[in-house]
Amino acid sequence: MPDLNQFNRRAARCLLGFSILGLAICGPAYAAETIKIGSVLSVTGPASFLGDPEEKTLKLYVDKINAVGGVAGKKIELVVYDDGGDANKARTFATRLVEDDKVSAMVGGSTTGTTMAMIPVFEEAKVPFISLAGAIEVVDPVRQYVFKTPHTDKMACEKIFENLKLRTFTKIAMISGTDGFGTSMRAQCLKVAGNYGIQVVADETYGPRDTDMTAQLTKIKNTAGIQAVVNPGFGQGPAIVTRNYAQLGMSATPLYESHGVASKSFIELAGSAADGVRLPAAALLVGDKLPDTDPQKKIVVDYKQTYEASAKQPVSTFGGHAYDGLFILVDAMKRANSADSGKVRDEIEKTKGFVGTGGIVTMSPTDHLGLDLSAFRMLEIKGGDWTLIQPGS
């Protein structure tokens, strides 16, 4: 029976091939005397500007924590996987962290897309997951095991509208990006505008890769009665909006950007057109300008110096989110005096008065973010640098 013989040989070959592949994906075995913390970040790909500082921050501070003896007498072992911004990959790595690496908890998820794809894995496995993604849907509705550290887009809208109300502006225009960030923030802003007595009289959008927004801005310019313009956007789009805004001579009308542009590269891209632009941002950006009485001052200045000395690049708020996530988790593990996922989850939820780079965090069973509007500072760009606006202006 030559056929059957050949078939057997073939089957054996197939099996051999598959077991080699199987062996290849077996990681090395680790000693049990460590606490494993997992992380799936977008270190490469289009969202690397988020994942890269996050990874550097986590590695830097895990080493620091281990140097002084670790947590609850055990060293931390950090397992980081790079999802390249791909939600499907993130989901596979999440399964790997839970099933194969058996992590106690996870700090990661650079984007809302990857976070949302990973949530079911951690919810089912009952492993705490502190996300670093922006959108409010990560913690609303509240899920038992899911927390997050970055401010939400809804808070950014509220912070902007609070400032608008203070300046007695009621009629505004919005020009939003159509990427994930812009879409989500636009929807949140439209939802809460009424609470501040604000009317959105013009509502324009632009694509994330558009190179000119003059048409949309001209339409806004020609709409009567607009007192301020809000730009929910991310990446280079808002810089182009800001430049076009100045070119069209609209600078007399105040322009508000989102927390999504809170990095030095925005000022560089927008140039002198950025002067006078306001935006809500975390204290981290203006650490050295905070008054000494500010409770966050010490933390943000420390983090900025440590990060910049180690990474040799300017600090960003995204790395700060990872810092907050790691220390909320480590504090919870210390209080629980254990790495048991269930106990750690309960302790994370009891986080109270934690001072981080993003604000002062007090969580509860109904609030897995724990930040209020005071976490945002209203900044104004002046002479190519961030400045805190005077209270009441």
Partner: protein
């Protein structure tokens, strides 16, 4: 070996044995997840192989059909109250119909016009999925209801492993059997010489169109399976990068070889997982391995391997 690769009973039997035995070698259910991903990707690339390997046409927007399948199982239960399996069938029908409408005018032309048309079609579908956020959840995606069959909720990694494995077996069996049908024989004739096929009275355009529709339906079903397995969809599934990935699976494994599609999918799914130990050099290694494979195995892994074995005898 070459003869054996043409024996469809042997191929399907070997595949069934591999699928049945593999779980016993897995130390954790993470491996089940990776294997399930291989089965689903293989299912999609088998369909694409019918188009590329047999009809000689390239689709550069195939992820669009994958995305349509995925989003149909997301939108069906969430917005229309349909059961998941019915949404899968509807998604496959929609994909097939769209492929028919796109392919019908284009495949009458000679040359690789389908590649350009599908490239545009793929971008369009991804754009619609990203912007129609009321239905699709926008750029951040939306959750997908779990699949329930006869009151049995399919949620565990094991259940998905067996289900995706069963689909792959069925998909491979149908694709292999295609060779013995009039369509399959006509496709073979077309593959050897388009002119000769036309001379003996084969409707070349119609045949290519049929292959395109088959490929679209395969991709759509694979998309539906992945969406239900993940419990979440986002527009990346329909993106250009995913289209390229599918084409790479087919070419790497071997054009026209059904086993090759499975091997190609396995390599492209497993390799990034295995290479994570290299951290930042991961993508570099992945690219290097694929280039080396394509330089030294121009026909693809499986046809090359069977040639080697044949010449060794």
């Amino acid at each position: 070996m070459t003869a054996l690769l043409n024996n469809r009973y042997a191929i399907v039997a070997a595949l069934a044995v591999v699928i049945a035995i593999l779980p016993f070698t897995f130390p954790s259910s993470y491996y089940l997840r990776v294997a399930s991903l291989v089965w689903v990707s293989a299912f999609a690339s088998i369909g694409l192989n019918v188009l590329m390997g047999k009809a000689g046409q390239v689709s550069l927007g195939h992820a669009a059909f994958f995305g349509i399948g995925a989003y149909s199982t997301a939108i069906g239960p969430a917005h229309l109250g349909l059961p998941s399996w019915a949404s899968l069938v509807i998604g496959a029908c929609v994909s097939g119909l769209l492929a028919y409408l796109v392919g019908r005018p284009i495949l009458r032309l000679k040359g690789h016009y389908l590649a350009i048309a599908t490239l545009g079609f793929g971008v369009l579908v991804a754009l619609v999925i990203t912007t129609e956020s009321r239905w699709t959840g926008g750029p951040d995606g939306m959750p997908v209801a779990k699949l329930t069959v006869f009151g049995w909720r399919i949620g565990t990694a094991y259940a998905w492993y067996w289900l995706s494995g069963a689909f792959l077996l069925l998909g491979a069996w149908i694709a292999l059997n295609l060779d013995d049908t009039p369509t399959g024989r006509a496709l073979l004739a077309l593959h050897d010489s388009e002119v000769a096929a036309r001379v003996v009275g084969i409707d070349v355009a119609g045949l290519k169109l049929r292959a395109f529709v088959i490929a679209a339906v395969y991709a759509s079903i694979a998309g539906s399976l992945l969406a239900m397995m993940n419990g979440f969809v986002n527009p990346d599934l329909a993106g250009f990068q995913h289209s390229v990935e599918l084409v790479t699976m087919v070419v790497l494994g071997g054009l026209g070889s059904i086993v090759g599609s499975i091997v190609g999918a396995a390599v492209l799914v497993v390799l990034p997982q295995a290479l994570t130990v290299f951290q930042e050099y991961e993508n570099l290694m992945l690219g290097f391995i694929i280039i080396v494979a394509m330089v030294f195995m121009r026909d693809g892994i499986v046809p090359m391997a069977s040639k080697l074995i044949a010449s060794a005898r």
